[in-house]
């Protein structure tokens, strides 16, 4: 983990961007297939083998559509808003580590674009900025459904950002750092219970934090059962009602990138990131473990969507402020207490 020539960083960033954009396209395919299986149907089958070309076909279709701007819309804001959501969602990928420093062709390569000491905070911050895209898009559409969706989104993000941040404080107390790389490598250490050795994943020491984080992450990415900003049965499509063609797709992709980023984030913080059998010997295996963990998370997202009804708005707020927030604070207090015991500062 040292400095490296900037051209290597460029190559790594480029590779990560490519993988991310591709995987985002294929997350839509993955969701369609998994959801279809939940619902007793087949999902896309006609485009390529097992519908594998479906994302491509979707992209071609969406690009061929007319980009409509309603008369009542605030034109500039309307056109600009989807870009905010999309770019900020991509931006958060900068601090996610895909491994440590490895030797490729005799060169030291850091498998992450950057390692800033407030990495976790950076992801939370970009997530909050991404909501501006939703709020501005909903407001500028000149449609009441969009406006309601935007207002819901604002309220939802304010509430669940808080839970998201608070659920991580326990980890920061344990590790004493906010750098994602440091947090990840802390989890590569092994804990031994007699003959058994298991990885020190923070899901074991922070189970409550993990649960809170997952709930808040689902809400943060506007996925079911917290998809109130775009609740299709009441608000038609919420903030996206007036969007069409590629601008609609940008929101759509932004949502899927956020899903992937949140899954990566959760895997890094709670499930040891790249840690897994063989990951110490070969970095490729570590990436594979990370991808598997992300896929498990995505599966969980889709599972929720296939199973649960949608919350009502007041119930959503009630859950955040009356249930989750007290639990998050409790988690912080308990973790801090044990940390103080560990430091020998009490008793």
């Amino acid at each position: 983990m040292g400095d490296q020539p900037i051209w290597i960083t460029f190559i790594v960033t480029f590779a990560i961007m490519t993988v991310l954009l591709l995987s985002m396209a294929y997350t839509t395919w993955y969701e369609r297939k998994v959801l279809a299986r939940f619902q007793d149907r087949l999902g896309p089958t006609r485009t390529g083998k097992a519908g594998l070309m479906q994302p491509l076909a979707d992209a071609v279709k969406l690009m061929g559509k007319e980009d409509l701007v309603p008369d009542a819309a605030d034109r500039n804001v309307f056109l600009f808003a989807p870009l905010i959501t999309f770019t900020t969602a991509l931006l958060s990928a900068a601090v996610i580590p895909w491994g440590g420093t490895v030797q490729i062709f005799g060169t030291d390569v850091n498998l992450y674009p950057t390692d800033i000491n407030v990495g976790a905070l950076f992801i939370l911050a970009t997530g909050s900025i991404g909501v501006y895209g939703i709020i501005l898009g909903g407001w500028s559409s000149g449609n009441r459904y969009s406006l309601l969706g935007a207002i819901r989104s604002a309220a939802q993000v304010i509430s669940y950002e808080l839970i998201l941040g608070f659920s991580l404080v326990g980890i920061f107390i344990i590790t004493g750092t906010m750098s994602l790389t440091d947090i990840m490598f802390k989890q590569h250490e092994m804990l031994s219970f007699g003959p058994f050795e298991i990885s020190n994943w923070f899901v074991l020491t922070q189970p409550l934090g993990f649960v809170l984080f997952v709930i808040a992450a689902v809400a943060e990415t506007n996925r079911a059962p917290f998809d109130l900003p775009e609740a299709e049965s009441e608000l038609v499509a919420g903030f996206m009602t007036e969007y069409s063609a590629m601008r609609f797709a940008l929101y759509f992709l932004g949502e899927y990138i956020s899903m992937i980023i949140m899954s990566l984030f959760a895997a890094t913080l709670f499930l040891g990131g790249t840690s897994g059998p063989g990951a110490d010997k070969f970095w490729g295996l570590g990436i594979m473990w990370l991808v598997l963990k992300v896929m498990a998370f995505l599966f969980f997202y889709i599972w929720l969507r296939a199973t649960l009804p949608r919350f009502r708005f007041d119930q959503l707020m009630g859950l955040a402020w009356k249930v989750l927030l007290p639990l998050a604070i409790l988690n912080i207090v308990v973790t801090a207490f044990f940390r103080l015991i560990g430091n020998g500062q009490v008793f």
Binding site: Q39, D227, E234, P309
Partner: protein, 422 residues
């Protein structure tokens, strides 16, 4: 080559141009200084179950006032029926509640039979019960799927439509059509039962209970479903009676009024079934009532099928002059040919008088009021569709509800716009 002209003026010049200021136009202030937003829910909206428009006055997300506007699908069935002979009206009734066409057929046919003083043979009555109860299951399954979809349980609609498909297949075997069945005839059934019908129904009866358990497993104890439905859209028993509600909307409030028990028609007095009642009159109670009705309908079909399975008595009351003469005779004898021809071309002359016959439709009391002047066409045919009357309670229920509750409330009434608008 000439340029292609626009066939007609798309935009009328007298139409006022869209000003683009919809957002502020009709907002006004409440006495408390709060701004009220008018939201036009529909006519094209995913949760209005068709083309219905609900004009909402919102304070934030709370509904202050709700005004349902219907009639987008009005086809003038009552007016058209005055120009059709009695037997020709049966297909029109299919198009009322198109999720439960056999029930509409039955309601109409029974009213006509009551006017004529005619009784279908017992076997036909049992088969009518079987078909109607299957159609009740189909109608409730559509309701369950779409209601759950409105509240956000995405997969439910696919599960329920899977079983509904089996019933549609049964209808297809029975009468050749799936949705608009045109199944019932005045006087019974004129055709033989097709081969393979009974095993098909048996198969459905075998599969259905486990599938029903799947639905209730997914919803009945789901905390989000409970939070969304319990205590929402409460109708007190007094209000339910006063608003003339019928079906699950009335029984959900605890009023025991099921036409099958109160005024038994067909052979319902010989069948063993129960009428489920709700307790609190909220959305969840109506859900429980309908789910239990699914179970009871399954029970009724099983009983009726067990009783009638090996029966081969005639299915048509041919002794009556009001009944369409058999087809087969027309091929051999001139008299039968003439009789058949006259019946088809001129119809029969019904007795003078008026009748009202109600049946328990999947959505409530489906009543037909026929005024006859002695001709071959009804002088006046009134369709009392349950959804139309039940929908009238929506403004009452929507007082103070949240916007998200609106979809639950519209869903819980179980409307089909073809039946509401007629």
């Amino acid at each position: 080559m000439e340029p292609v002209k626009t066939p007609f003026n798309v935009m009328d010049s007298t139409q006022t141009e869209y000003s683009g200021t919809l957002m502020v136009e009709d907002e006004h202030e409440l006495a408390s200084g709060e701004r009220v937003m008018t939201l036009n829910m529909g006519p094209q909206h995913p949760s209005t179950h068709g083309v219905m428009r609900v004009l909402l006055k919102l304070d934030g997300e709370t509904v202050i006032e709700c005004d349902p506007m219907i009639g987008y699908l009005h086809r003038g069935t009552e007016k058209l029926s005055e120009t059709k002979r009695y037997a020709q009206i049966v297909p029109w009734t299919d198009r009322l509640d198109y999720t439960a066409a056999p029930q509409n057929n039955l309601g109409y046919v029974l009213a006509v039979e009551k006017l004529l003083g005619l009784n279908a043979p017992e076997r036909a009555q049992y088969w009518r019960v079987i078909m109607v109860e299957l159609s009740r299951i189909a109608s409730h399954l559509v309701w369950l799927g779409t209601h759950a979809l409105d509240i956000g349980a995405l997969s439910m609609s696919l599960y329920t439509f899977r079983e509904r498909e089996m019933i549609m297949d049964i209808f297809e075997t029975f009468c050749g059509a799936r949705l608009t069945t045109n199944m019932m005839e005045i006087g019974g059934f004129s055709r033989q039962l097709p081969d393979g019908l009974i095993p098909q129904i048996r198969n459905f009866l075998r599969v259905f209970p486990s599938k029903l358990k799947e639905y209730t497993d997914l919803l009945s104890a789901n905390p989000i479903w409970l939070a969304r439905t319990k205590g929402v859209g409460v109708i007190t028993p007094e209000a339910a009676i006063s608003y003339s509600l019928t079906g699950a909307c009335l029984r959900g409030s605890g009023i025991n009024y099921d036409v099958r028990k109160a005024d038994p028609y067909l052979v319902y007095d010989q069948l063993d079934f129960e009428v489920p009642l709700g307790q609190f009159g909220d959305v969840f109670d109506r859900y429980l009532v309908r789910v239990e009705e699914l179970r009871q309908a399954h029970k009724i079909v099983t009983q009726a099928l067990n009783y009638i399975e090996n029966d081969d008595r005639p299915m048509m009351a041919y002794e009556s002059a009001y009944v369409m003469p058999p087809h087969m005779g027309t091929m051999t004898t001139a008299e039968d040919m003439q009789r058949h021809f006259v019946w088809v071309i001129k119809g029969f002359s019904a007795p003078v008088g008026e009748v009202y016959h109600a049946i328990e439709h999947g959505k409530g009391e489906f009543g037909i009021h026929i005024v006859s002047d002695g001709g071959s066409m009804p002088y006046r045919l009134r369709l009392r569709t349950p959804d139309y009357v039940n929908l009238g309670v929506l403004p009452h229920m929507a007082q103070g509800a949240m916007l998200a509750d609106m979809v639950a409330l519209i869903g819980t009434i179980d409307i089909v716009l073809g039946s509401v608008d007629r």
